[in-house]
């Protein structure tokens, strides 16, 4: 029996090692400087890179963060500072957890209905909007957790000095929790950067530089999806290098955020 659990733990590690090592081998051998400076090539054309997709991913994740961070952080402030144990707060926590379980493709369908159909075209805004909804519950939950770690004495000290709720939150509680909040935000950003499903019919893809946030926009994840299924060796190679870049980005932020949440201000 003990052997069985050892086996289970070993089996769980096999896919992780297999995926990461394979992406590393395939990705590194084909990664070069051009990948970060050139545009994606059309089918059958050798060379090229995915600079436009990196820029597009950063653009849409940035848009998503701009929408999701203020709402998520303020919602968490309510949940941890003012809502406390009320039933309203527990309903909102429930809704947050349910929202984080909504399939990303359904969020994409929603963004299509709300943004693409009303603005009349696929765009970076539609993609960013979808990513914002996926980031929102992650940011709200991690921020609430980090605010909970601030001891109540700190708040009482601020209030005792005559600070208002707003001053206490903005000048004392939030700054103290800032490193933990930032890592939560980074975690959300790394999740969003890897998302594909909500982007394939909100942002679509182009071979060109993203010129305006109202036009179709390339992204790393959609590039991997598109190039994985074509018969052209060069594009498949780009899909592997793009996977490597994406995995490094995602794992790097995961590792950093885990490391940083263990550090306490108080």
């Amino acid at each position: 029996m003990t052997g069985l659990t050892f086996a289970a733990a070993a089996i769980a590690l096999v896919p992780l090692i297999a995926v990461i090592s394979y992406v590393l081998i395939q990705g590194v051998s084909q990664l070069n400087f051009n990948a970060f400076t050139q545009l994606t090539p059309p089918p059958g054309v050798p060379g090229g890179g995915f600079a436009n997709a990196i820029l597009g991913t950063l653009l849409m994740v940035g848009l998503g963060a701009c929408l999701a961070v203020p709402v998520g952080v303020m919602a968490a402030v309510f949940l941890s500072e003012f809502g406390g144990g009320t039933s309203l707060a527990s309903w909102i926590r429930f809704a947050t957890n349910v929202l984080s379980g909504v399939p990303s493709i359904v969020v994409g369908v929603f963004a299509y209905g709300v943004v693409v159909l009303t603005t009349g075209g696929f765009s970076a805004i539609a993609g960013g909007f979808a990513l914002a909804i996926l980031m929102l519950p992650i940011i709200a939950r991690t921020t609430e957790e980090s605010l909970k770690l601030i001891p109540n004495e700190v708040r009482q000290a601020a209030v005792g000095l005559g600070a208002t709720n707003m001053q206490t939150v903005f000048w004392v509680v939030l700054p103290a929790a800032l490193p933990a909040i930032l890592t939560g935000v980074m975690l959300a950003i790394s999740r969003a950067a890897g998302e594909t499903a909500p982007l394939i019919f909100t942002a679509l893809f182009t071979q060109f530089w993203p010129r305006s946030i109202l036009e179709p926009t390339p992204s790393l994840s959609v590039l991997i999806y598109n190039f994985a299924t074509v018969p052209f060796k060069n594009q498949q190679a780009l899909a592997w290098s793009a996977s490597l870049v994406l995995i490094v980005l995602v794992l790097f932020t995961s590792v950093i955020s885990r490391w940083a949440t263990h550090r306490k201000t108080y």
Binding site: T5, A8, A9, A12, L13, L16, A18, V19, I20, Y22, V23, G72, A75, F78, G83, G84, W91, I92, A95, V98, L99, G101, V102, P103, I105, V106, V107, G108, V109, Y112, G113, V114, F122, I133, L136, A140, N152, R155, Q156, V159, G160, G162, T164, M166, S190, A193, G194, E195, T196, A197, I200, F201, S221, A239, W240, S243, L246, I247, L251, S254
Partner: protein, 316 residues
């Protein structure tokens, strides 16, 4: 005694009326932002419902039982996709539950020093951080070729059995199920572990004190005591598996047919959406929204049940 901010504030010195109004406004504003999260959930439901309405009027419940998906004739039925969604998710659960529970037990018992455990937990969580599309790419070039030989053996030796009645021609239900199992493994392992850790220590010590072996304690005391939490973890994983899109779309073969064989290509609701949404027009968009609504309600139902089960554990 510790006080919440609200309570501490109640005993602080009185302020000018303007200050108080401003401050009340701030608290009110944070509440509005918090309500916005619940609002988004309702907005998603309404938006998808309204967009699906034309198709709901045209096909009614026949949409759920018809196997015909034909954009040329504007005839839509989603039974093969609903079947594929459920079948691939259950296949994934079948593969992931034993391993996930094994990992959870392994991590709660003190087989290893704490530092090694922390590293293991971290690695299992990293599995969840790898983007779905990368799993899909890996699946196409590594997993499918790897599955060819065992699948061929299964078909040639057990081909009379309906589950293996077709050869594996490349993408299909089995590769999709395997990749889904890998993707939901961290969910099952992490949340079951939390449920096992939440079981009171006294219970375990009592069982051991009565002379039960460590394994009797785990199987007959620990697992039953953590049962609702473990079921919650499995349902949360089921919700993930049903909503998962990219890896499945790349590996399942996207064939709108229902077969008993797990080696044959199939389709899921999310793959249907991923494949057709960008080029859909008119009634097809509405039919796709209807399919999305079905997926949304299935996952919502499962997630809400799971959430309630997991919460019950956390309250202990």
């Amino acid at each position: 005694m510790t006080l919440t901010l609200k309570q501490s504030h109640a005993i602080a010195k009185p302020r000018s009326p303007v200050d108080r109004q401003l401050d009340r406004g701030f608290v009110w504003m944070t509440q509005v932002f918090a309500l916005a999260i619940a609002g988004v959930l309702i907005w998603i439901t309404l938006e998808v419902l309204i967009a699906a309405f034309p198709a709901m009027q045209t096909f009614a419940l026949g949409f759920l039982t018809s196997t015909d998906w034909n954009p040329v004739k504007d005839q839509y039925g989603a039974l093969p996709q609903i079947f594929g969604t459920l079948a691939s998710s259950f296949l994934a659960l079948l593969l992931a539950i034993p391993v996930g529970l094994g990992v959870a037990v392994f991590l709660t018992e003190d087989f290893l020093p704490t530092q090694v455990q922390t590293v293991l937990v971290f690695f299992v969580e990293l599995l969840a951080a790898i983007p779905s599309v990368v799993y899909g790419l890996w699946g196409i070039f590594v997993l499918i070729p790897l599955l060819r030989a065992p699948a061929g053996w299964l078909h040639s030796h057990l081909g009379w059995f309906p589950l293996f009645s077709t050869p594996l021609s490349g993408p299909g239900m089995l590769p999709a199920g395997v990749i889904l199992a890998i993707m939901i493994l961290p969910t099952i392992a992490a949340i079951s572990r939390d449920a096992l850790v939440a079981v009171p220590k006294e219970l375990k010590q009592a069982a051991l004190g009565l002379g039960a072996t460590p394994w009797e304690t785990i199987l007959l005391v620990m697992l039953p005591a953590a049962f609702s939490g473990i079921v919650g973890a499995i349902m949360l994983a089921l919700g993930r598996a049903m909503g998962e899109t990219m890896a499945v779309t790349m590996l399942i073969g996207n064939s709108n047919t229902i077969t008993a064989s797990i080696l044959a290509p199939a389709n899921t609701i999310s793959s249907l959406l991923a494949n057709q949404f960008a080029e859909a027009k008119g009634l097809q968009v509405s039919a796709l929204m209807y399919a999305a609504l079905v997926l949304f309600f299935l996952t919502l139902l499962i997630n809400i049940l799971a959430e309630m089960l997991v919460r019950r554990v956390q309250k202990i």
